[in-house]
Every structure is written in structure tokens, then in C-alpha cells.
């Protein structure tokens, strides 16, 4: 499935809920399902700064050149948010990730309904994901 298709699926899914409390309840469920980072990566090195809660993000390249993300946070709503990002972007090539528009974040209202502090957290998460993508892209170019 392309990133765009996954984004669409997430948008559809959130459309089921009218009320923000229900959307949050869903986000919390998703948070609980987050592919958890290996405990050994829950160190300062993998901590994303700029969030009100602590978020750790780890990335590795699989054999097909696709990036696999795992993450964790001490706040479950934050886990829900990063789990959405991972669902959309994990398992894709660096280029695909860097090209992704991530319009779904606006469409499901995540940006609008999150305070700038939290939006900043979101921005920091996205930045960190793109940072990994760029790093892997560079690495593979150097190898060639």
C-alpha cells in the first residue's frame, strides 16, 4: 500500500467519530497498539526534544531498503500520535517518506486541535522521521 493510501485509510477511520472525545479515545487505543521500541533504545539518544512528554523513536533499514520505525512515549496520547505517523510511514523507502505530504494530519484535525506546544511536538516527530530518512538515503548513496 502506498503512503497516500494509508493516509486515506486513517482519514476514513477518524471520520467514524463525530466527537473529539471519541477521536481521542481512538487515538488512545492506537497508542496502546504502538509497535514498541526495544527497551535498549529508550535512551536520551533516541529522545525527541520539543514535546511535553518524552518520546523515543528508533529507525532501522530492512533488507528491502525500507525503514522500520518503532517508538514509545510516557504519555499515551503522544503514543497515539506517533503510532499514526509510523502506520503511515514505516515500511517505506527513504524517498517515499521524504516525498509524503502528510495531509492526513490536517484532515483528521490533529494539527488544528493540538496546541502549538503539542503541534511543536508533532513537528519535532516529523522532523526526526525525516532526519532518519535523509540519513539512510545518504548512507545508501555513499555505499553505491
Amino acid at each position: 500500500m502506498t503512503i497516500q493510501k494509508k493516509e486515506n485509510a486513517i482519514v476514513e477511520e477518524f471520520r467514524l467519530f463525530d466527537d473529539w472525545m471519541d477521536k481521542y479515545a481512538h487515538l488512545i487505543e492506537l497508542g496502546k497498539e504502538l509497535p514498541l521500541i526495544d527497551e535498549k533504545y529508550k535512551t536520551n539518544q533516541y529522545l525527541i526534544s520539543g514535546c511535553q512528554s518524552r518520546v523515543w523513536l528508533f529507525a532501522e533499514l530492512d533488507n528491502d531498503g525500507k525503514i522500520i520505525f518503532t517508538a514509545d512515549s510516557d504519555a499515551v496520547i503522544t503514543k497515539g500520535i506517533i503510532s499514526l505517523l509510523i502506520r503511515a510511514l514505516s515500511g517505506h523507502t527513504p524517498k517515499e517518506i521524504l516525498d509524503a505530504g502528510l495531509g492526513f494530519l490536517d484532515e483528521i484535525g490533529l494539527k488544528e486541535h493540538l496546541s502549538p506546544t503539542r503541534a511543536n511536538g508533532l513537528v519535532s516527530m516529523i522532523k526526526q522521521i525525516q532526519f532518519y530518512a535523509r540519513a539512510f538515503q545518504l548512507k545508501s548513496r555513499i555505499k553505491k
Binding site: 473529539w20 472525545m21 481521542y24 479515545a25 488512545i28 511535553q52 512528554s53 518524552r54 510516557d74 504519555a75 499515551v76 496520547i77 503522544t78 496546541s115 503539542r118
Partner: protein, 404 residues
């Protein structure tokens, strides 16, 4: 008895709904809302009186200057300063404290000590820490008990003939503790030290009497006491303000200038460089008149009732840990709930119309001393009600059930 409905009518923002729910504003320690009287005072100033102050010969300049100086006098009386020239207008508490920390540098030597407490807001911590870094002086931290109380005996132990300055919050913005500032000032004076009090959280909630406390400096912000942003006060004993060098240079703080020499103006102008925030000062006076109209003691009594009720209700929740259980508290309750992140609670409560704060509340060392990175904090004001506490408790229970 306060007529809270009437008071609430004075605050336009309280009529708002947030996310379709009536706004419950429990973030008053961050900033209070403003009554129409204060908002109108500023508009009226800009519509009828606006001018630069002090140097003009013309009518508007006279009107603005008189209004500005009358505000200074009102505020001086309000906090029982001995003279209006002891009131320096600043941007807020942070600037007031930074001003003292900066100009006090010439009185600090390498062997000296500066005493603060473990419950200080960063604004009453980092300026002193950096002053110590610059001068080589030692920063001595008096630790609060687990309850969030300061033991005056601990203070006595921390004080000695090297102590030059004691800086302490009147009320902790995290724990709500009302500190025994008068007693601490007495002890500090006995050790030959000067005392700076951070009154940011006290000014809206307690009668403040600098003559009775006898501190050398007292700092507070307008915006935390129903007044506008961008205005605050540094009270300083005349004797000390006179001894200190200016902080910023230019405008009214200058008596005469040659390229090789400048003579500074008298107090309080020496510390007010550049065009002051006249509208802000007038707004602050208006806010203090508004409070005085009800009586700070009346307000304190009412807020205590809110505090007792909220504390009692919170304690009923499973896993509830109230951070700060001092005997003397005002307006602030911090808590955490076992297994639930403060940020998650804050987010969901916001969606249910309750505005409160989560995080370290700019007092990171204090929050970390409880092994935490974050607390949930509700902070009350005179316009809050028992019903709002019920709404908050309902929302909190719902949030907890979603997150467990």
C-alpha cells in the same frame, strides 16, 4: 460575602465556550483574566489621555504624567511602601528579579553566598544561579520538606555571615505553599542579608504588606493579578534603590549627558529607562482598586473555601497524589494520578472545557525532587466557583477512565 455571579459578569472571557463546553479557567497562576474595568481603563487611556510622560509641557502630557504617577502612589499604598519612589515599574516579576540580580552584582564577592529555596520558579532561580556563575559566589539551596514546607530552622542553618542575599517565593506556583516570609526576613536580617521576595503568586491572593515583611525587595507581575500584560513592579527600599546602579540607560532615567559623563535621575526614574508602559500602569492600578473593592481578606477566605473543597474532592480519586500539602496554602493545587501522564489528562480536560496546566511549571528542580517530570496543576482565582470544581472533577473522572 462576595457576589461571585456579579464578579463573573465583569470578566467577558468567562462567558466563552471551549470545544462547545463552558470555559472552566483553572490556569490562573499562569495568568489571570481581566475584568471590563481594567480593559476599559486602558481603552479610555488611549482614547483620551495618551501621551508620553514627564518631559512634555503640554496638556495631554500633564494628564498622562499625573495618571501614571497616581498609579505609582496607589500601588505604593496598596503594598504599604513608605514612598511612591520605592515603586519601580517593570515588565513583570521576571524583569524585576533580573534587575536586582544584575545591579546587585557589584555587592557580591567570590566568598559570598546567595540563598534560595528548592521551590523557586526559574525566574527566581536562574538569575541568582547566573549571578553566582559570574561572581564565583555560592548558591545555597534550602530544601522544602516532602509536604512542601520550609523549615525556618533549615533556613537558620543555611544563613551565615557570608550570606548576602536571600531570594524566596511568597507563594510557590507549584505547591501553593505560603512561605513564612516575614520570619525568614527576620532571620536573614539577623545574618546581615538582604531579602528579595518573588510575589508573583501572592499579589492576587494575599494582603501584601512590605513594611510588615520588612524585605528589601518585592517583585510581582500585573498580569497575574487581573491587570494587563507588560507591566509589573519592583518594590525596593529607598536606601537600597539609592545604593544600586541603574539597570538600563536612556530617556527619563537621565538627568544630564555629556559624551564623557552622564548624571542619572533620582528615584524611581533611575530604574525606568525609556518610555514606560503608562497604559499598563493605569490598568494595574485599576485592577488593584477592583480587588480592594471586594477586600483581599474576603477574597482569600473565598478562595480558601474553593481550595478546601477541591482538595477534598481530589483526594477521593484512586491513585491521587497531591504534590504540596503544606498547612498554609493558597490558590494552587498540583497533583499526579498513578499510571497516568499529566499531559494526557491536560489534553482530555481541555477538550472538556477545563483549562489547566501540566508540566514542570517552570520549576523543574522542584518537580524533579518529587521524582516527576510533570504535574497537573489547577490554580484558582476569585471568579472560580464550587460548581466549576464539580465540572472539573467530572471531567477528570472521565479522562481517568479513558486513560486507564
Amino acid at each position: 460575602m462576595l457576589d461571585i455571579n456579579q464578579i463573573r459578569n465583569d470578566f467577558p472571557i468567562l462567558q466563552q465556550t471551549v470545544n462547545g463546553k463552558p470555559l472552566v479557567y483553572f490556569d490562573n497562576a499562569a495568568t489571570t483574566q481581566k475584568p471590563m474595568q481594567v480593559i476599559d481603563r486602558m481603552s479610555r487611556y488611549y482614547k483620551n489621555e495618551n501621551s508620553n510622560v514627564h518631559r512634555g509641557v503640554h496638556y495631554l502630557s500633564q494628564v498622562a504624567t499625573e495618571a501614571y504617577e497616581a498609579s505609582r502612589t496607589y500601588i505604593a499604598n496598596y503594598i504599604h511602601a513608605s514612598d511612591p519612589s520605592e515603586i519601580v515599574f517593570t515588565r513583570g516579576t521576571t524583569e524585576s528579579i533580573n534587575l536586582v540580580a544584575s545591579v546587585f552584582e557589584s555587592f557580591i564577592k567570590e566568598e559570598d553566598e546567595i540563598v534560595i529555596t528548592s521551590m523557586e520558579h526559574h525566574s527566581n532561580l536562574v538569575p541568582w544561579q547566573q549571578l553566582c556563575f559570574r561572581t564565583g559566589a555560592r548558591l545555597v539551596v534550602v530544601k522544602a520538606s516532602v509536604d512542601g514546607e520550609l523549615d525556618t530552622r533549615e533556613f537558620e542553618k543555611a544563613l551565615n555571615d557570608k550570606t548576602r542575599l536571600v531570594a524566596i517565593a511568597h507563594i510557590s506556583n507549584v505547591l501553593g505553599t505560603i512561605n513564612p516570609v516575614k520570619e525568614i526576613t527576620r532571620l536573614a536580617h539577623a545574618a546581615g542579608s538582604v531579602v528579595v521576595i518573588d510575589g508573583a503568586q501572592a499579589i492576587a491572593h494575599l494582603p501584601v504588606n512590605v513594611a510588615d515583611i520588612d524585605c528589601e525587595f518585592y517583585a510581582f507581575s500585573g498580569h497575574k493579578t487581573y491587570a494587563p500584560m507588560g507591566i509589573g513592579v519592583l518594590y525596593g527600599k529607598k536606601k537600597w534603590l539609592e545604593k544600586l546602579s541603574p539597570y538600563q540607560y536612556g530617556g527619563e532615567m537621565i538627568e544630564s549627558v555629556r559624551f564623557d559623563k552622564t548624571i542619572f535621575n533620582s528615584l524611581p526614574y533611575k530604574f525606568e529607562a525609556g518610555t514606560p508602559n503608562v497604559a499598563g500602569a493605569l490598568g494595574l492600578e485599576e485592577a488593584m482598586r477592583y480587588i480592594a473593592g471586594f477586600g483581599v481578606d474576603e477574597i482569600k477566605q473565598y478562595e480558601d473555601k474553593l481550595m478546601d473543597y477541591a482538595t477534598g474532592e481530589l483526594k477521593k480519586l484512586e491513585g491521587m497524589q497531591i504534590i504540596g500539602t503544606a498547612k498554609q496554602k493558597a490558590a494552587v493545587i498540583s497533583f499526579v494520578i498513578e499510571g497516568i501522564h499529566a499531559y494526557d489528562l491536560g489534553t482530555l480536560l481541555d477538550k472538556m472545557g477545563v483549562a489547566l496546566r501540566t508540566g514542570n511549571h517552570c520549576a523543574q528542580p522542584l518537580v524533579e525532587s518529587y521524582g516527576l517530570t510533570s504535574t497537573v496543576r489547577i490554580s484558582l482565582a476569585m471568579y472560580n466557583t464550587l460548581e466549576e470544581i464539580d465540572i472539573f472533577m467530572g471531567a477528570l473522572q472521565k479522562a481517568v477512565s479513558m486513560l486507564r
